[in-house]
Symmetry: C2
Amino acid sequence: MAAKLKSVGVSLVVAVALLFLQTSTVLAAEGSGNKYDSFIQKLLQAGLQSNTAHLLLSELVVRAPHRLSGSSDAQKAVALTARMMDSLGFQEVHAESVRVPHWVRGKHESAVIVQGGKDRERPVAICALGGSVATPEKGITAEVIEVRSFDELARMKDAAKGKIVFFNRPMDPTRLHTFEAYGGAVDQRVEGAVKAADAGGVASLVRSMTLAHDRVPHTGVMSYRDSVVKIPAAAISTNDADTLSRLLKRNPHLKVRLVLEGRTMPDAPSANVAGQITGVEMPDEVVVVGGHLDCWDKGQGVHDDASGCMQAIEALRLLKELGVKPRRTIRAVMFMNEENGNRGGKGYAIAPQRSREHHVAALESDRGGFSPLGLAVQGDSTLVAYVQRWLPFFAQLGTGRIEKGSGGVDISPIVATGVPGFGLIVDDFRYFDYHHSDNDTLDKVHPRELEMGAIVEALLCYLIAEEGLPPNTVHETSDQ
Amino acid sequence: MAAKLKSVGVSLVVAVALLFLQTSTVLAAEGSGNKYDSFIQKLLQAGLQSNTAHLLLSELVVRAPHRLSGSSDAQKAVALTARMMDSLGFQEVHAESVRVPHWVRGKHESAVIVQGGKDRERPVAICALGGSVATPEKGITAEVIEVRSFDELARMKDAAKGKIVFFNRPMDPTRLHTFEAYGGAVDQRVEGAVKAADAGGVASLVRSMTLAHDRVPHTGVMSYRDSVVKIPAAAISTNDADTLSRLLKRNPHLKVRLVLEGRTMPDAPSANVAGQITGVEMPDEVVVVGGHLDCWDKGQGVHDDASGCMQAIEALRLLKELGVKPRRTIRAVMFMNEENGNRGGKGYAIAPQRSREHHVAALESDRGGFSPLGLAVQGDSTLVAYVQRWLPFFAQLGTGRIEKGSGGVDISPIVATGVPGFGLIVDDFRYFDYHHSDNDTLDKVHPRELEMGAIVEALLCYLIAEEGLPPNTVHETSDQ
């Protein structure tokens, strides 16, 4: 567009939400609209002037890029975020120990398509799934059977015996919400090795969980079952999956040689890290905001989920910058081990300290550091309706959606005890392009988009700390 | 996040909009909700399966990257988009001639900060503003006076005499909407040369219109006034603007040598390009959807506005793929010369063909090919309310905002005649990082985000073509 400003008018969302405010009989923020309106403007000013979330993010992911649970970078991140919160003047900064699974990727992993002699070997981009056992040193060389579902595999009976089972059902690109497309395909990654072994397969090769077409494999958690033999499992890039599928149609007897070296070590000591602004009236009533500090060992785990961690810290930093003395405690928590065990989330919920506290709400950002669009509320309909009366406030931040939905994996154990859960809804079109892969790097985050998430979190934490929430009658089961 | 799907619940926006539908007495889509619901799902399927908008975009911007009005690439783009629409089976594909301004950037343009001898020359990244006159061949070397506003310049009286006036008021980063930040700063670029010359300045140097901090200058339109001497005008990158400002504080007598070679040629022949799906019941009633084909000569003009053009073509292609036979005509128009004259938009509104047609609506996408968030409706409150009853449909596409606002520059002349205008509202956080600069390239567009805009446009065009719109009583004045 040219010089003229394309002005934005009054949003219907705001208008409708104001209608709610006018007609609703019970108002948490009754008569205090002006107080929050000016607070929101100050939050925007403070946040967008400095984009500090991005500065914090850079520090974390440059110094500790590969924060897989049990790794030295994960431990570096624990110390670093504790120092960060300390130097920002947070109160009660401390680590809470948890023991975490410790899987280590091998130095060498590779796969080639073998057709005829050595000169016809064609390398494909793969990576071990998290938790996979190794292949023998020389790899596994076997024919490949391609399937699109567990049902298809089951119908084949013995056809998979001795073969590498290649799960090649793509994420459905026609789903508007990428998380739904992910949810419709990720069973192949999580359960593929068990299903393949059950059918007599010798390894599992799964199409990467992404909508992108490139040569970057995406790792992620997979599981074994004690009663089923553990076979190696890897992800293959989408471009290579397409190539392999095409070649298989021409030559169903081609082979793939897969070499993986990953191994599982004994559980390792690690920790959640917390810091807070202690409430001046009800210090034992706690609003938790967090993300997970661990990530996969590909890329820098920036969108998943260094972003969520730094947004939590930035939310508290902003509140401090604005001189907020909240009635209830607002606590930032960096959870450990979301990716392969959720030991941090579980540990936080049952830590001895919790018995002396009452949690009012738990908020998580774990859908990437993109433009925030709204809030998912995990609770009963009374709670959702209560929070929706704050729509006029959030609409001022461009986040005009408040809807029932899931909070996040880390907070799910504490939400399962009846604590209202909240998840930041973001523009997720690009998320799975980067997720669990070498593409999840700092340059993929836009400072303003990241900061806006922190601003929205700061507002929600403050509103809850000031106004409280109605009791939640729905005790949802834990995600793990 | 890990394997578990974070589900998204029922949106309040949808719920509220459904409430509207239930309680409203006049419904355009009354009883036809199911028809459109299944249509919307088919649109999503067809669009997101192929992301064809991005394929079309690649073809346009790779073959004709520098489509400044009057350039050979602009003429290539006219022919190319006509062929494109022809090969997609659009009807009545034709060009409508318009004469356009023809400004040509010089081969060489540069600026250096001069302090003392030759060895202390420091190059800075600049580019001529569109329409600027050239400097003498050896450039203009003069002292620099920095100001933040025209008022400040006016107060200085003679201090600017013989100097280069350096307008260095940044876009306000604390504005949530980047277009508002742009609107608050762009007067410096558009009117800076006139104001500087008025104050006796010898050239105008303006801080680039962007929130990014980098070394990439952003061009854009500027204007002269016949009664005021025409002085050269350039944009300087934000990083270099900061540097220059810092150096000026240390040494107010430093000089800048500015070399520009641009020149204005006689007006050139060019054209708007149109193609359509002719309405089966009311062929002379027309819904126009478009963008502008011209762009600045930096980057590839991808977000501004090849995206809008290709979305318009893709919207019609989708409707054709779905076998739609609309009651009214739906026409895609590639407007020429939005950036420096809007001759295309003006020409379209007064072309002889218009007298045989009745325009029902005009829709434009010119805020970048990013995730669509909603629709701006340029018309009276009856019209806005009428369109808002379609919210449940648009909410299914994630575009839950329908609000009063501006359509776009290209359609402003026809909107000024009383035709309802519509503008696609998108996530604009990144727009001005790229706008009018070498950064506005194909890699900055995400195929799904672009496609979603085309899908939203297809839906709006179809709804209007089927249901019509109430008459608009507001005849807004043209933007140009």
